[in-house]
Amino acid sequence: MEQQHARPTEPPGALEEDLETVFRLESPRVVAAVARIVRDIGIAEELTQDALVAALEQWPRDGLPGNPGAWLMTTARRRAVDLVRRRERYAHKLQEIGRNLEAVPPPEEPSAPDDIDDDLLRLVFTTCHPVLSAEARTALTLRLLGGLTTAEIARAFLVPESTVAQRIVRAKRLLAQRNVAFEVPYGPEREARLGSVLGVIYLIFNEGYAATAGDDWLRPGLCEDALRLARLLAGLMPKEPEAHALVALLEFQASRAAARTGPHGEPVLLKDQDRRRWNRMLIARGVAALARADTTGAPGPYALQAAIAACHARAYTYEETDWPAIVTLYSLLAARSPSPVVELNRAVAVSMAEGPAPALEIVDALAAEPALRAYHLLPSVRADLLARLGRTAEARAEFERAASLARNERERELLLRRAAENG
């Protein structure tokens, strides 16, 4: 170790940096633990921020505590318990003068470390609650569980910071107004609510993986935030096959990230990707996660999608892809959770396994689908099939239509290039 680079004493400014990192890592757990006491994630976040302010005052004076995370947790919890007691005293006083307030439950005893996972899980189910809009769910989940700042979320979704800040404020208010219980649902409601949680993470990933708008084809930061959330959720719910399946799907998708963009940021399609650039560690992690998701029962939608992604990951060349297996998996997926987009993907697989003609029949059956009216991939797939059938004039018109619908600049360029090729 070279002495001149050693840092036995922390240089000035290092504490702030440490503190910021420690705070980002610990805040989800602190917010979750405090929310269980005060039953309100907005107040929980404020109390967590208060603990940070206290740390900023005390740590530079007294030095960094041995376990900064525990210090923040204890400080925030203490404030939460004080707040609840004050509320109780206030309610009691009002009762004395003949006013009735809703009774507040007494604060619970400090939790054991094992309870932290339960608290985090309650937090996930709350930030992904169906009373919130999709935008609110993603923003709140990234903020409270992903530890992103509002500025970071705004940058990721290409919206002004004030918009994100407002979304978060409104979301917290709505949860409070609707008296959304800070709990993990059980019984029949659980599966639907889990679907909502998985959907939020998937949505975040997809926004990074194929940006719906803007100039960049890929925003890897969002993919990685989603992947971290997915891994976190699978750790919190080890018995949920679909949680592991979502991890598997995202690991497989992320393994291709480096190969999905060309030297100038242009999209590179699956069949043209240099598969040597696929990340083998992530593929191996995907395989392991899919094995954990393996159930004796019927595979869920994420397990089926992960299995399809695994088929691609297993093929060292595009030609080696097991298309018949992929067709079978898409058929199962279409039966399990039918959607026009799944049907469109099935058509692509059929075109590879059986040829463009039967695939075109599937695609043409989707032409009247209102959900796909503005979906650029429908004309894009159709154009590709027409080109393969030698119907170049029709293919060109379809590529142009697809380009006019594409909201991502990089995709639009690609589609216009393909239109020109069919000139």
Binding site: L25, G147, R228, A230, L232, G235, R277
Partner: protein
């Protein structure tokens, strides 16, 4: 979110003859579980002592093979951790926590390096 490789280099002379203590293994296990559950740890492992290792060297167009033990034992790679973190500061924070579970008689250096992507 970049990926980092933490190369755990140990002074093998400070490793107890009977290997790491059960208490250390317990604390290490708990920490690794925590880092894995946080979605940060991608892969980690400890290595067998360097005495059982082999060095394969390429120089001047020739291969030479040397079996352990090797002369220098001050900073020998004894393990590794692949982590996916927001930035270097976060990777360093997790690394500090990893080092703090060791007893005081250990001498360990973690070299945290960002993985070149693309």
């Amino acid at each position: 979110m970049p990926r980092y490789l933490s190369l755990v280099k140990i002074d093998e002379s400070t490793v107890p003859a009977e290997g790491p203590s059960p208490e250390l293994m317990q604390r290490m296990g708990e920490l690794i579980e925590e880092v894995t559950k946080a979605g940060v740890m991608l892969d980690t492992a400890g290595l067998m002592p360097s005495a059982q290792g082999t060095r394969v060297h390429w120089e001047g167009g020739r291969i030479s093979v040397t079996d352990g033990p090797f002369t220098e034992s001050k900073e020998v790679v004894g393990g590794y951790a692949f982590m996916q973190c927001k930035d270097m500061a976060e990777a360093v924070e997790w690394t500090k926590r990893f080092l703090k579970v060791h007893e005081e008689f250990w001498t360990v250096t973690c070299e945290v390096r960002e993985i070149a992507e693309g």
